[in-house]
């Protein structure tokens, strides 16, 4: 009996080791793409400065995404890389926790308070808008809900959380995820251009990107493409949206349970905890530790740099996993609803940010 248990433990350890080893090629690919992006940014900057050429600074973020997009869409990436590429969300979450080192708690309370207020308005407005548009286009009710949750709260994670809670079809959730991902890719190109064209401040732009871009990875990238400071604010705002995921999903789950089309919910507190993104708490813990002087100034810089490395892996992954061919195979109607909804949400949130800027001077 003891021997059987020992063999089981050994086999579990071996499985764990194999699983970790399978991640390595893809993680190395993410790192290679990110480092090449960083090298390109530094080399081009160095060259243009040395030769007195006026040239806009193209951040490593854009290079990492573009190189990732080129590889992911022009070359068939061998399957050996896939498990590691899929870790980009893991790095995103670790990066967000470490980013807490760049915020003093008082900043979070001030900026987070403003963000949270705007997030409530954004979530309410987005849910109403997407629902109205989905109904007008005759989409299936659960697909409408998934699109509404994805655009109001936090993209793919929210759709996956809601799928199980409201018993939605696989087809509906893949439609919604594809639409949200395609729109996220478009927003990476459009948001920084609009932000610069209308001369938004770093704070204002970061708030806008965090409110309007759906997926956390794309929201962080859209912010960082504008400026480092805007990237920070975009992540904080997006984190406020993420924190509300459980409440929105719970609301929809109760609605479908009452209609008899979803499983009953047991303990609501346990449901909320299960859906709550734990990295939000990690972010607050690190920020509190920095605010209480647990880290020296040099150590805070080290933590911020570790966060940058984690984001570098994330941005490479964003480019690699965006496959235009796969996205174009999805239905046109959900995509059309998504585009219209996202444009309206972008305008609504831009209005909110401009209004907030007049009151609080962001």
């Amino acid at each position: 009996m003891a021997t059987t248990a020992a063999v089981a433990v050994r086999s579990e350890n071996a499985n764990w080791f194999v699983r970790v080893a399978r991640l390595i090629p893809g993680i190395l690919l993410l790192a290679a793409i990110g480092i090449v992006g960083k090298w390109l940014e530094q080399s081009i900057n160095g060259y243009t400065k040395a030769h007195h050429i006026v040239f806009p600074n193209i951040e490593y973020v854009l290079w990492a995404i573009v190189i990732g997009l080129a590889i992911g869409n022009l070359v068939k990436v061998p399957a050996i890389f896939q498990p590691g590429i899929d870790t980009y969300e893991f790095w995103l979450k670790a990066g967000i926790v470490l980013l807490g080192s760049r915020f003093v708690l008082a900043d979070i309370l001030k900026l987070g308070g403003i963000s949270l207020l705007l997030v409530f308005i954004e979530i309410g407005g987005s849910l109403l808008l997407m629902t109205a548009l989905g109904r007008a286009f005759g989409l299936r009710p659960k697909l409408i809900n998934l699109l509404a949750i994805g655009s109001a709260v936090c993209g793919v994670s929210a759709i996956i959380a809601a799928k199980g809670a409201i018993d939605a079809d696989d087809e509906d959730s893949s439609f919604a995820i594809a639409a949200i991902l395609a729109l996220g890719a478009i927003s990476l190109l459009v948001f920084p251009l609009v932000g610069h064209a209308i001369h938004l401040s770093d704070h204002g732009y970061g708030l806008w990107a965090g409110l309007a871009v759906d997926n956390t990875a794309e929201a962080s990238a859209a912010g960082a493409l504008f400026s480092d400071a805007a990237g920070k604010v975009a992540v904080l705002t997006k984190t406020c949206r993420n924190a509300l995921i459980g409440f929105v999903v719970l609301g929809y789950a109760i609605y479908w349970t009452r209609k008899g089309q979803a499983g009953a919910i047991g303990n609501k507190a346990a449901f909320l905890w299960q859906k709550f993104p734990k990295f939000v708490l990690g972010f607050l813990v690190i920020s509190a530790a920095v605010s209480l002087g647990f880290f020296s100034k040099g150590q805070v810089t080290d933590l911020a740099n570790l966060s940058r490395w984690a984001f570098l892996l994330t941005f490479a992954g964003v480019g690699l996993r965006t496959n235009f061919r796969a996205l174009s195979k999805q239905g046109l109607k959900p995509f059309a609803v998504g585009v219209m909804g996202e444009v309206l949400i972008a305008v609504l949130t831009l209005g909110l940010v401009v209004g907030a800027n007049r009151i609080w001077t962001l």
């Binding site: 969300e89 893991f90 790095w91 995103l92 979450k93 670790a94 926790v97 470490l98 080192s101 993104p277 734990k278 990295f279 708490l281 990690g282 813990v285 690190i286 530790a289 647990f294 880290f295 040099g298 150590q299 810089t301 080290d302 933590l303 740099n305 570790l306 940058r308 490395w309």
Partner: protein
């Protein structure tokens, strides 16, 4: 019964979210302890 066991086995004990938080905390502690120093960017 067997299916239930399979589902229970397939479900990860710790979510990806939690692993990411744990990694970040370990890195923060290593920085605090001076094991990780002068992280370049």
């Amino acid at each position: 019964m067997a299916d239930e066991r399979k589902v229970a086995e397939a479900k990860p004990k710790v979510s990806l979210d939690t692993w990411a938080v744990l990694l970040a905390f370990v890195l923060a502690l290593l920085v605090r302890a001076g094991v990780l120093q002068h992280v370049a960017w």
